[in-house]
Amino acid sequence: MSQQPTSESPLARAALITVALTFLGFFLLLPLLAVFSEALRQGAGPFLDALHTPDALAAIRLTLIIAAISVPLNMVFGVAASWAITKFQFPGKALLITLIDLPFSVSPVVSGLIFVLLFGANGLFGAWLAEHDLKIIFAVPGIVLATVFITFPFVARELIPLMLEQGKDDEEAAISLGATGWQTFWHVTLPNIRWGLLYGVLLCNARAMGEFGAVSVVSGHIRGETNTMPLHVEILYNEYDFVGAFAVASLLALLALVTLVAKTVLEWRFGLHAGARH
């Protein structure tokens, strides 16, 4: 192999690779292995039993429900926000771009507290909600709100650079050919962004299922009712039920692995498409 002008000496290369692999091994691979080995420490029987308890099943069900509500919502919000930002000029656009990043820059605990301050018993709308017998905090609606807030940026941040790069030409071509706005979105814009959108949805879903901080503040930790999987893991761990805690944790870890694989597959397709574009 010929030496590239930009490449390092073989020694430096080996050193850099070793450092990177060691780091990855210690901080990613080892914990992952620990999760699964702890979960299966007493064999498959106790592992499955731990997942079969009513509380664990309720937590799994609630996590799936939360994701099933918040991911589609953020898919719609994310596409709408990206569309508005990349295809139109309007006052307050810079502010909107900044606001999209807000959930990433604020601590999740603070995000949760915002909703408590708004909808909690002593919150801004607390009295009105109590009057009408509506429960948001310490109930499923609060968890959905917190999750939607936390996961909002994923789809939009994925789409905005992509749609900026693609420009408005395709859309203009479509409407000049007589297509309506809806036809243009459905037949031209959506196919152009489908891989990016799927990628964003995948990341959004992983976070929606895994969110701990914000959900912990608004959930109230009511067993069998408002406990999501991450919250359930913490409760079991605090009760020294290590097999149970790691069994549920291994499900979440599995989700992460599936997301990674799907992401890699998408990147591969994505890359293929980006190449064919020019």
């Binding site: 030409d169 395709d170 203009e172 071509a173 479509a174 409407i175 000049s176 050919l177 007589g178 297509a179 309506t180 036809q183 037949h187 031209v188 196919p191 152009n192 064919a276 574009r277 020019h278």
Partner: protein
């Protein structure tokens, strides 16, 4: 066919167009020629309805379309970077304008496909209908874009730098091909270009623009031979400038007679072959002005360091206030 009256457009604080008036006859092939920032693309997009003027009117075939959106203007628009839908086959791209029609204008799928096939034959891409845009060359893609624009049977064809993204050879072939197509179809067409050669070769009339204003409208020969402003003289074709009392004298590199008793003398510091002529470059004695001269290549090439004496035999005088006189010099 097209009548523009007092078109103005401002982008924020930046004035893009200052009161444009333009009339285009049916079947004409018009070039909007100018450097970037001259407003030519903005004007084209206003005619299309992709952009709206701040004031002024746009008449298409006698109909006031000043506020009509692009979808209802029935104009074909071809983009510099083709803007083909990359997830659709070439045939689906061409048929797109027909497939989005609804209600009583709806066309059956078989008829749409037949029409697409017919248009692909017109742009000489027969048999490539099932390919994807990514599998075509730049020149082929631009022809697909053209077929797609023609599919809606537009009353007007607008092309934004249609050859801008192509390499020189393809550009030349496509140019000739487009001119033939225009001759055959007779569709009123306007194209935007910054390439004066392209404008002079293709257009029936050239509209030279600069800084949001029309500098000159005329047949290619008239614009080249009789530029009315210093800008046109400088932008269309190559021009030498000599300072003169009260203004400047402009002449083309070939508008000279070499003679031992010439009034001007240039010290040659660079010589190269420019097609059929020798191009000599150097600084004028006295003023130090840089000039380019074309000398017949049937003679020996000028030598470096040689002094060439010449008279401009045809030139134009531009006064400082923009007035000009022109014609043959004695």
């Amino acid at each position: 066919m097209i009548h523009l009256r007092g078109i103005t457009k401002q982008f924020g604080d930046y004035p893009a167009l200052h009161g444009i008036d333009l009339d285009v006859a049916p079947g004409e092939f018009i070039a909007l020629l100018g450097p970037s920032g001259s407003g030519k693309t903005t004007l084209l997009r206003i005619i299309a309805g992709l952009e709206f003027q701040d004031s002024g009117t746009v008449l298409l075939g006698g109909e006031d379309v000043s506020r009509t959106p692009v979808a209802d203007r029935h104009v074909g628009f071809v983009f510099q970077h083709y803007a083909l839908f990359r997830h659709m086959t070439v045939a689906d791209n061409v048929a797109f304008g027909l497939s989005v029609r609804r209600g009583k204008h709806r066309i059956a799928k078989a008829a749409r496909q037949a029409r697409a096939e017919e248009l692909l034959r017109l742009v000489q891409l027969e048999g490539l209908g099932s390919r994807y845009p990514g599998q075509l060359s730049g020149g082929q893609r631009q022809r697909v874009a053209l077929a797609r624009a023609l599919a809606i049977e537009p009353r007007l064809l607008l092309l934004d730098e249609p050859f801008g993204a192509l390499d020189a050879k393809v550009r030349k072939d496509l140019r000739r091909w487009l001119r033939d197509l225009h001759k055959a179809m007779g569709l009123t067409s306007i194209f935007v270009t910054h390439d004066q050669e392209e404008a002079l070769e293709l257009a029936d009339r050239v509209v030279v623009m600069s800084q949001g204003r029309i500098e000159q409208i005329g047949a290619p020969d008239a614009v080249y031979m009789n530029p009315e402003t210093p800008f046109v003289s400088h932008f269309v074709g190559e021009t030498n400038r000599l300072p003169a009392s009260g203004g400047e004298i402009h002449f083309r590199p070939h508008e000279i007679t070499v003679t031992p008793d010439g009034s001007e003398a240039v010290l040659v510091d660079n010589v190269f072959r420019k097609g059929a002529v020798w191009r000599a470059e150097g600084l004028l004695e006295g003023s130090g002005q840089f000039v380019e001269l074309d000398l017949p290549s049937s003679q020996d090439a000028p030598r470096l360091g040689q002094t060439i004496r010449f008279n401009p035999h045809r030139a134009r005088m531009f006064n400082a206030d923009g007035d000009h006189t022109q014609g043959d010099l004695p």
